[in-house]
Amino acid sequence: QATQLLFDQSHPGRRGITFPASDVPEGALDEMIPAAQRSKSLPELPEVTEPAVIRHYVNLSTLNMSVDTHFYPLGSCTMKYNPKRHERLAALPGLVDLHPYATAHSSQGMLQMLFETQEMLAEIAGLPAVSLQPAAGAQGELAALLVAAAYFRDRGEKRTKVLFPDSAHGTNPASANIAGFECVQLPSTDKGFVDLDLLKEQLDDQTAVFMITNPNTLGMFEREIGTIAEMVHAAGGLVYIDGANMNAILGITRPGDFGGDMMHYNVHKTFTGPHGAGGPGSGPIAVRDFLAEYLPGPVVAKNDTGEFQLEQPAKSIGRVRSFFGNVGILLRGYCYLRTLGAQGLREVSENAVLNANYLLAKLKGVLPVPQGDRCMHEFVATAKSLATKKGITAMDIAKRLLDYGFHAPTVYFPMVVPEAVMVEPTETESKETLDAFAAAILAISEEDADYVHAAPHTTPVRRPDDVKAARQPNLRWTPTCE
């Protein structure tokens, strides 16, 4: 029933909702819109009733694993608990129904919330200027790179290169490419850190930006970040901090303090916007004072009379999207920041790091962590020896964990670690859950390899055929002839 498609439930004449009759004077549609502009048919949307639509999607929902139902240690994604109060508050009239072109007069409450969000994000970053506009982290990267480009253009410098370590998120090079830069990828050291010698070799007067995720994607803090930043700055470049892993360092260290000139946040990760099975995210950026005037906008300013207003920074790169930004997600971030305060934010990171180190300690016997015995908020273990010895791969573990009632960690990323198993427990999970998860992995490592390789055994479907999907792409339902 659940897996029947919506379209299979369509029957001509069924209605999910009806609308009132028109209450304005009758008029011929032809006089409003010429016949040639009107379609002779309605779009072939399915015809289904409200009860059927509800049953369909409620049942579909139960085929998902989610944070509310399962431990979801998907590395790099910060799948923490999404507080229910946020959903209630985001639905308040005056917030949920405010038109983005409402006058400043009728949006003072909204603007105040956004202004305070800018201020809090600036403080956490240690970077004074914030634009909330980017729709997601990747767009934040792009926006910041455009800011850098505008800055250098303004200074008359022609810098064409963006450098990043090979452990970087794929969005870093993709964003740099779209921003018109040349991408230079630096191999990391054995330990997964930036290779200072290689960096030095690459740094020159063509270098615009060095992009670095810190803590990095291996879950390690770049100890040499101070030196790195100095080197980049000395070469006249800017340091960009990919803030995907901010959950590890809230109130403990700040990108602006360790040499970053620009950064983005992933509000949906660090500040717990619901991930929505893929989004929406929100990717504000914070920059140093000398970059503020280039920020995309509008941003919110407070004028002399204490009123809030939208402003475009003086030399803004322009807009990166329509309207203000992903306000619904920013609002949830605001609620979270106001709930936690300074002490609470620090405790978030402390416990995220504690949980990750605890899991690392419990798992390293069976899934060694090449980067060592300590990590920040996540770690990357390897199933290489398990794969070699028993034929149990990272993917096998991921699939088999589903049978144990756990979502899988991220696997095969970052690519610098073979058979990578990237685990991010987050701070909102309990020791009991971590213990159960560790026990499951230990149990799996001792199971029959064929059985594990055949996993998952209890899920609604088992190991879909990706190759077939790509070879004969079927991206939409089409009616079959009767």
Binding site: Y57, C77, Q108, A135, G226, V461, P464
Partner: protein
């Protein structure tokens, strides 16, 4: 301690297992000189009760000054059935993430597959992706896609009647690229064919059309698409999804890529986001599409199921060669649109379109009957039009607001030289009574 699970006692046990003396020790990898020596300077923490009061007060500051909505400019207050909220508030949907593990994500995957199908049915196109950020970036993504398809990386042409913020996004995205975005002015409210033909050439990757356009007017879309095709450029059409309950579908008049702001399909205004970027195209361009695609396949036991498909286009594999840098998409908003379209069906969409259209024309009739008010452009329109206010648009807006009606935006917001025009839009939600009251207020 708001959402933390571990008690101090458990923390000690965990530290013992780790072999660390303290939590501070775990942060030893961060050089001491880089650590923050003071607490963050943040407002004090609030309990749920306090937060509810604080945010309630902020919300009230807005709601007390909000009027009945006649606002347009790219997002609209169409009615949202309660069932949409019920579906989108299912924990399993909104607290899941990208369906990397297909076995644990069939719910979202199937919903997105249905979304792709519904978008195709809506637009008359052959394939759709599973969502982009919003309407403006979708235009940019379509332009990049057109470059990849045509191999023309130098030039795209946009009509001046495309939403100014969408054009601004293209300008931003192009600012450091060699590609030029040529804007063809539309002083008469719609495209001037001669000017468009002048702008198009064999270096042009695409022509971007908005239908209905930013001023509310209907373009001669079919002819514009033909003009683009004549020079081998793609025709990119940015449309209002609701209008497709009435207007010719882009697929019917030859569009190559259709983009849209999907907010109208069941997502509230929320001061501008999160909204929904829609991108659909012809089958043959499928592998050049940006964004996530869901495909049907079969599993090990032969059961039909759904997976992330054609991921090789995406940035986590292709990195700097990816079709886009997009990583998150708008899954939850796509789900809302899916539920909305499923509930409305063809008839419901037709009703919403027709009601919006009829009411907008009644508003226009009433307002233009008032001295000093006229249509800025004497062109057919759907649910939105540009009102010319002889005595100043800002004054008209203020007068309406005084009476409890929100109209706008002012076009001066986008073009400071235009002090007389503003947009007025109407959805199925507006009643004759409200329309009459707005007209009475402006007539005073």
């Amino acid at each position: 301690m708001a959402y933390l699970d571990n008690t101090p006692e458990q923390q000690r046990e965990m530290l013992a297992t780790i072999g660390a003396a303290s939590i501070e020790e775990l942060f030893a990898q961060i050089p001491a000189e880089l650590q923050l020596k003071r607490p963050l300077d943040m407002p004090p923490a609030l309990t749920e009760m306090e937060l509810q009061t604080a945010l309630g007060n902020l919300a009230k500051q807005n709601s007390e000054r909000q009027g009945t909505c006649f606002m347009g400019g790219g997002c609209y207050d169409h009615f949202i059935p309660a069932a949409v909220d019920a579906i989108a508030s299912r924990s399993e949907f909104y607290t899941a993430y990208t369906p990397y593990q297909a076995e644990a994500s069939q719910g979202s995957l199937q919903a997105f597959y249905e979304f792709q199908t519904l978008v195709c049915q809506l637009t008359g196109m052959e394939v759709s992706n599973a969502s982009l950020y919003e309407g403006g970036t979708s235009v940019s993504e379509a332009a990049f896609m057109a470059m990849r398809v045509t191999g023309r990386y130098k030039k795209v042409v946009l009509l001046g009647s495309v939403h100014p913020e969408y054009r601004a996004v293209v300008d931003t995205y192009f600012s450091d690229l060699e590609c030029e975005a040529i804007v063809v002015p539309t002083p008469n409210g719609i495209a001037d064919f001669a000017a468009v033909r002048d702008a198009l050439d064999d270096q042009t990757a695409c022509l971007v059309i908005q239908q209905p356009n930013f001023f509310g007017c209907l373009e001669e879309a079919r002819e514009l698409v033909e003009a683009a095709h004549e020079v081998g450029a793609l025709a990119v059409v940015s449309c209002d999804p609701i209008s497709l309950g009435m207007l010719v579908r882009p697929g019917e008049y030859g569009a190559d890529i259709v983009v849209a702001e999907g907010q109208s399909l069941g997502t509230p205004l929320q001061y501008g986001g999160p909204f929904l970027g829609i991108l659909a195209c012809r089958q043959k361009f499928m592998r050049k599409m940006p964004g996530r695609l869901i495909g049907e396949t079969t599993d090990r036991d032969g059961r039909p199921c759904f997976v992330l498909n054609l991921q090789a286009r995406e940035q986590h594999i292709r990195r700097d060669k990816a079709t886009s840098n997009i990583c998150t998409n708008q899954g939850l908003i796509a789900l809302r649109a899916t539920a909305y379209m499923a509930l409305l069906g063809k008839q419901g969409l037709g009703e919403v379109a027709e009601l919006s259209c009829r009411k907008a024309h009644y508003v226009a009739e009433r307002l233009t009957a008032i001295d000093g008010f006229s249509l800025a452009y004497d062109r057919p329109f759907f649910k939105e039009f540009t009102l010319r206010c002889e005595n100043g648009a800002a004054e008209a807006l203020a007068k309406a607001a005084q009476a409890g009606f929100d109209i706008g935006p002012l076009l001066s917001q986008f073009d400071a030289s235009n002090q007389t025009d503003l947009l007025v839009a109407t959805t199925e939600c507006r009643t004759r009574h409200e329309i009459d009251a707005l007209a009475d207020a402006l007539a005073q």
